[in-house]
């Protein structure tokens, strides 16, 4: 799987290159600035890219802007954005095109390399991966509103993991329940939120996020 990495701090860039190489990714580019990133994305059209939000020369959200611009030119180009902080505003902007193939994670998620690599692969196959912090903020925002308030604690856990882009089997493993139970929770959640039932994992995440972001 071909991947472009954009990170301005040498230590972190080097670490990401080593981590992803070790997991069998082919690094087609490792860049350190916004303009370089845009060029690399449009030129290499990688299967997935891992992008730091903050990049030179402006040291603002240059990485995010480059990723959004690349996705405007190449719809659905898979991008996983990493950041020291998560901002719902940015999550919204990434999700706005409803094309899938986006991820937005805190940088510390890199510590858990297995689930980090899973997230990259999910994004590469058109999935949507949002950081648990984004999800918990979204749930807090809706906590006073019907019908989110009607969800049971367990259903919320499932919803949060769903929005992180995990499959039913991964959710089951995480919550120590059977895959069938997760399926039942998922049906119940969709019914309570009045969303049409959805079998496809990727579409399911988008539906949930679109609901929570409304």
């Amino acid at each position: 799987m071909r991947v472009v990495i954009a990170e301005d701090l040498f230590l972190l860039r080097d670490g990401l290159v080593r981590l992803l190489s070790a997991h069998g990714f082919e690094i087609t580019g490792a860049v350190g600035t916004g303009p370089e990133l845009l060029q690399a994305l449009l030129e290499h059209r990688p299967d997935v890219s891992v992008v730091d939000v903050r990049l030179p020369p402006t040291f603002t959200d240059e990485g995010l802007q480059a990723a959004l611009e690349a996705r405007r030119q190449v719809p659905g180009l898979p991008v996983l954005v990493l950041s020291q902080y998560v901002e719902q505003l940015y999550a919204r902007e990434l999700l706005a095109d409803q094309a899938g193939g986006v991820g937005y994670l805190l940088k510390d998620r890199v510590f858990d390399d297995d689930s980090f690599v899973d997230a990259i692969r999910a994004v590469a196959t058109g999935g949507t991966v949002m950081d648990p912090e984004v999800i918990s903020k979204l749930l807090v925002r809706h906590s006073r509103n019907e019908p989110v308030a009607r969800l049971s604690v367990r259903e919320r856990d499932v919803l949060a993991l769903m929005a992180e882009g995990r499959s039913n089997s991964a959710i089951a493993e995480r919550l120590f329940v059977s895959e069938k139970a997760v399926g039942k929770h998922s049906t119940s959640i969709f019914a309570k939120l009045d969303l049409p039932p959805c079998g496809d994992d990727n579409r399911r995440v988008l539906a949930v996020l679109a609901y929570l972001n409304s």
Binding site: Y85, Y90, R92
Partner: protein, 387 residues
Amino acid sequence: MNLILIVFVVACVVVAWRRSGARAGHPEAWPRRIRAMGWGIVPLPIAIVAFGLFGANFWTISALLFSGIAVVLAPALAADAVSAGLVLIGMLGLLLATVAFSQGGLRGPRTVYARPLSALRTSDAPVARYAVIRPGNTSPWRNALILAEVAGFLGFGLWLVPRTFGANSWTLRELTGRVQRLAETRTAAVDGAAAELRRVERDLHDGAQARLVAVGMNLRAAERLIPASPQAALALVAEARETSSRALADLRDLVRGIHPPVLADRGLGDAVRALALDAPVKTSLDIDLPGRPDGPVESAAYFAIAEILANAVKHAGAHAVEIRIRHSEGMLRITVTDDGTGGADPAMGSGLRGIERRLDAFDGILAVSSPAGGPTIVVVEVPCALS
């Protein structure tokens, strides 16, 4: 000649006007303009009338010149001693205009009346062909009038001097108040910054720093355990990883409290949009900002809105909040309205007091209308330019 002088005087007024407008945008700009021009402008119309009536002569030109100087300099130099001097110059212009009137007399321009003296002819030869009479200098009532006028103006000038120089003059009073206010807000700003630094130091010390120490100790212990008990070492390393994650979370919270990254990235508008997205209540926004204020103003405005929004949720139990941000005539105006229970008092809450202190440093103001039962309307105004 007349035309040149009139152009000069008009130019004086225009220059004076523009220079006094240097503070345009300041809420006090108009009163300042008017006060600054006041004494310069009084003698000017009189001087112009004198000039028009009697034409260019020493007196009228001097009157125009002094009035012009007073008009040009008064607004440009608003310091107290100088404005006192300008009042004197203006009075001098007035005096000269009066003299110009008196020289011309009330009947018209100064002229020489002559009449043939044939009636006085003697037997031999005429003593003189003409007798020259200069009216205006001879009439006793007119002389008395001039003297009274001169005395009146001089007296008025002398009456003005102590009032202009003295502690009661408006500029001095205003400046004294301003200096006092600046001293207060500067102290508050410095204290605030120092307290903020102490908070950052404490948070770092108790949070991230302590956690990093724990990480280091865990790793060291794991190092020792690896040969004997790799399983136990593994558990320690996992704990170290967990702790470093929490250290990062601490740092993130700290950074958000100092200067939220989205504010640095996108400016006030998007930072407030991000705030609204994180808020647990329905928050509608009406933001129209054509540019970005200076960093410190932007930051103060952001934290003001964050605090007001938090109050609305926490204390007023609001369900809907409306935030409106506008910039016009050099003033940033923020209005936050909520449908909560009201009863907010800036004197009571440390939060609102904190906002006020922060805004003080920029001559900003905070106004709260919060009757019991609501709604609460908080208005923040900060003078600033957008870039």
